[in-house]
C-alpha cells in the first residue's frame, strides 16, 4: 500500500515540476516580444557595434590624407605577438635635414589579439580601434594590411 502511495506521489511530483518548467517556456511562447534573438545577416545594415568594440587596428587619417604616425616604433615594441611592423624611410627635407618618416605601417590582423596596447601606448595617438568584425577572407595573405593609406603624409605640427 505504502509503495503505491509513494509511486503516485512521485508521479505527482514529476508532473508538477514539469508543469512548473513548462510554465516558463510557455510564457515566452505567448510573449514573442521578449525574444532577444537577432537575425544576423539580415540586420547587417542596422547593426551598430559599441563605439569601444575592438574590431581591428586602423590608423587615423584626416580629410587631407594626413596621419599622426612618426614611425617611432613604440607600438611595434609593445605588441605582444609581433602583429605590427614599422618600415620607415629617410627623406631629406627642403632645408637639407634628414628625417625618418613612415613608409609602411604593416599590421597582421591574423595574429592580433586585440589587447589594445598599441593604441594605448602610441605617443601621438595615431591608431584607433575600428568596429568591423567580419574578418573572414579566402586567403590569409589578405589579413596583412598596410595601415597608412597610399600617398598619405605626416600631419604638419606632429613631431617626436
Amino acid at each position: 500500500m505504502k509503495s503505491i502511495i509513494n509511486y503516485l506521489a512521485e508521479i505527482f511530483r514529476g508532473v508538477s515540476a514539469l508543469i512548473k518548467g513548462m510554465k516558463v517556456t510557455g510564457y515566452y511562447f505567448i510573449h514573442p516580444g521578449e525574444i532577444v534573438t537577432q537575425q544576423y545577416p539580415e540586420n547587417r545594415k542596422k547593426l551598430v557595434m559599441f563605439e569601444r568594440f575592438k574590431g581591428e587596428v586602423v590608423m587615423i587619417h584626416n580629410e587631407n590624407n594626413e596621419h599622426h604616425c612618426t614611425a617611432c616604433g613604440i607600438c611595434e615594441m609593445n605588441c605582444p605577438n609581433g602583429s605590427i611592423e614599422i618600415i620607415s624611410k629617410t627623406v631629406t627635407s627642403e632645408d637639407g635635414k634628414k628625417k625618418k618618416v613612415l613608409a609602411h605601417h604593416i599590421y597582421h590582423l591574423g595574429m592580433c589579439t586585440f589587447c589594445n596596447l598599441c593604441v594605448k601606448t602610441c605617443p601621438s595617438n595615431a591608431l584607433k580601434m575600428d568596429q568591423t568584425f567580419e574578418h573572414a577572407v579566402f586567403d590569409r595573405t589578405k589579413l596583412t594590411k598596410v595601415l597608412n593609406r597610399p600617398g598619405s603624409v605626416l600631419m604638419k605640427g606632429v613631431d617626436k
Binding site: G21, F50, F114, C115, L117, K120
Partner: protein
C-alpha cells in the same frame, strides 16, 4: 571479421574506454581514460596536454603589461579576474596604491564576470544532464552582461581591461545604468532557473548524493571555489584575503556541508545572488577620480618573489612571479583552479555510473585551457 575472434565480455570484466578529447561533455579537449565494468566507473585517468600552449614560458619573454593578455586565455570565462591577479601582483610589488575608483570598478566587473561564468556553467550543466532548454535561457541572460562588457571594455570575452596601475579606459557613461538595469532584470530571471532545473525531479535524482566529497578530502586535494565550498571547506579568497573593493562590501560566503553534485550546483546559484548583492552595494558609490595611476613606460619589478591570489569563478587563482629586476619576469607560474579541481575526479566518480561521471564533471565546471596552460 572472424566471428570466433570476437570475445563476448562477461559482466565482471573490466574494459577501457576513452572519453574525449573531442567529447562535448568534457567541455574542451580533455581526455578521460576510463576503466569500466559494465556501466560502472572503476577508474578515471585524466590525460592533459591537448591544448598546451606554453603560456608560462611565453610570459618570460614578455613585459608585464603584455603578459596580461595571455592570462585572458587561461580561464577565458573569468578573464577579468585573472587579469586583475597579475595587475595586483605588479602593483603590490611596486607598492603602487591604485585609486578607489579603480578598485570599485574592478570589483564590479569581477562580479559581473562571475555571474556570466556561472550562467554559462548553468547552461552547460543542464545540457550535460540532457536539458537543452537551459542552454538558451542562460545564454539569453549572459548576453546582457556581455553587452555591458562590450560597451565599457571593448570586448565580450577576452576583456584585457586591466593594466598595471588601473584600467585601460574609464567606465562608459552608460555603465552604471546598464549594470543596474541588468541586476533588476536578473533578479526577476534567476527564479526561472530554479523553476526550470533546480526543482526538476530528474535533475535531483541524478545529482543528489552523487559524487560525494568530504571536507577532509577537499582540503587534501586543494579543492577550491564552488566545489570546495560545497564540501564545507571555507576557501573564498574574497573573504579570507580581501583585495580590491571587497573590504567595502558586505557579503557572506556560501557554504554547504553535503559535498555532492547537487550542492555544488546550489553553491553557484546562491553565489549569483550574492554577486548581485555585492554589485548593488558598490555600483552607486563608485568614487570620482582617475581610472589609472601613471606608471613608468617600462615596468621593472624589484628583485624578489611575489604571489597574489584572487577568487576566480572556478576557485582560487594564484600568480607567482619571480623577478630578477628586468622588464620581463624571470619565471611566472599560475596556480589554476581547474587543474586542482580535476584531481578529485577519480575519487568522486569511482563506483558510480558513467552518466553520473558526466554530471560530476559538469558540476566541477572545467575550463580545459586553464588546466593545460
Amino acid at each position: 571479421m572472424d566471428a570466433e575472434k570476437i570475445q563476448p565480455l562477461t559482466e565482471e570484466q573490466e574494459f577501457s574506454i576513452n572519453m574525449g578529447p573531442q567529447h562535448p561533455s568534457t567541455h574542451g579537449v580533455l581526455r578521460l581514460m576510463l576503466k569500466l565494468q559494465g556501466e560502472m566507473v572503476r577508474e578515471v585517468k585524466p590525460q592533459l596536454g591537448y591544448i598546451h600552449r606554453g603560456i608560462e614560458k611565453m610570459c618570460e619573454k614578455l613585459t608585464y603589461p603584455q603578459t596580461i593578455h595571455l592570462t585572458d586565455r587561461l580561464d577565458y570565462l573569468s578573464a577579468h579576474i585573472l587579469n586583475e591577479s597579475v595587475c595586483l601582483a605588479v602593483e603590490n610589488a611596486l607598492e603602487v596604491e591604485v585609486p578607489d575608483r579603480v578598485k570599485y570598478v574592478r570589483t564590479i566587473i569581477d562580479e559581473l564576470n562571475r555571474i556570466a561564468s556561472h550562467q554559462l556553467w548553468w547552461c552547460a550543466f543542464g545540457m550535460d544532464l540532457g536539458a537543452l532548454t537551459t542552454f538558451f535561457y542562460g545564454l539569453r541572460d549572459r548576453e546582457k552582461i556581455l553587452d555591458i562588457f562590450e560597451e565599457t571594455c571593448g570586448a565580450r570575452l577576452l576583456l584585457s581591461y586591466n593594466v598595471p596601475g588601473g584600467l585601460m579606459f574609464d567606465i562608459h557613461p552608460n555603465f552604471q545604468k546598464r549594470t543596474k538595469d541588468f541586476i533588476k532584470y536578473f533578479r526577476k530571471k534567476l527564479p526561472e532557473y530554479d523553476a526550470l532545473l533546480t526543482g526538476n525531479p530528474i535533475m535531483q535524482e541524478r545529482t543528489k548524493g552523487i559524487g560525494y566529497f568530504s571536507k577532509e578530502d577537499a582540503i587534501n586535494f586543494g579543492l577550491s571555489g564552488p566545489p570546495g565550498r560545497a564540501s564545507g571547506f571555507s576557501c573564498d579568497v574574497r573573504v579570507h584575503q580581501p583585495y580590491s573593493a571587497y573590504p567595502f562590501a558586505k557579503f557572506k560566503e556560501i557554504l554547504y556541508t553535503e559535498g555532492d553534485t547537487f550542492h555544488r550546483y546550489k553553491v553557484r546559484i546562491d553565489e549569483m545572488w550574492e554577486s548581485m548583492n555585492i554589485i548593488e552595494q558598490l555600483i552607486d558609490n563608485i568614487p570620482e577620480g582617475d581610472f589609472a595611476v601613471k606608471m613608468k613606460p617600462v615596468i621593472k619589478l624589484p628583485e624578489g618573489e611575489y604571489y597574489q591570489r584572487v577568487e576566480a569563478a572556478r576557485g582560487e587563482f594564484g600568480v607567482y612571479i619571480v623577478s630578477d629586476g628586468n622588464k620581463n619576469p624571470y619565471r611566472m607560474k599560475f596556480r589554476s583552479p581547474n587543474f586542482c579541481n580535476l584531481a578529485p575526479l577519480h575519487k568522486m566518480s569511482v563506483g558510480y555510473k558513467i552518466a553520473d561521471l558526466v554530471a560530476i564533471s559538469g558540476s566541477l565546471d572545467f575550463v580545459v585551457p586553464d588546466m593545460d596552460r
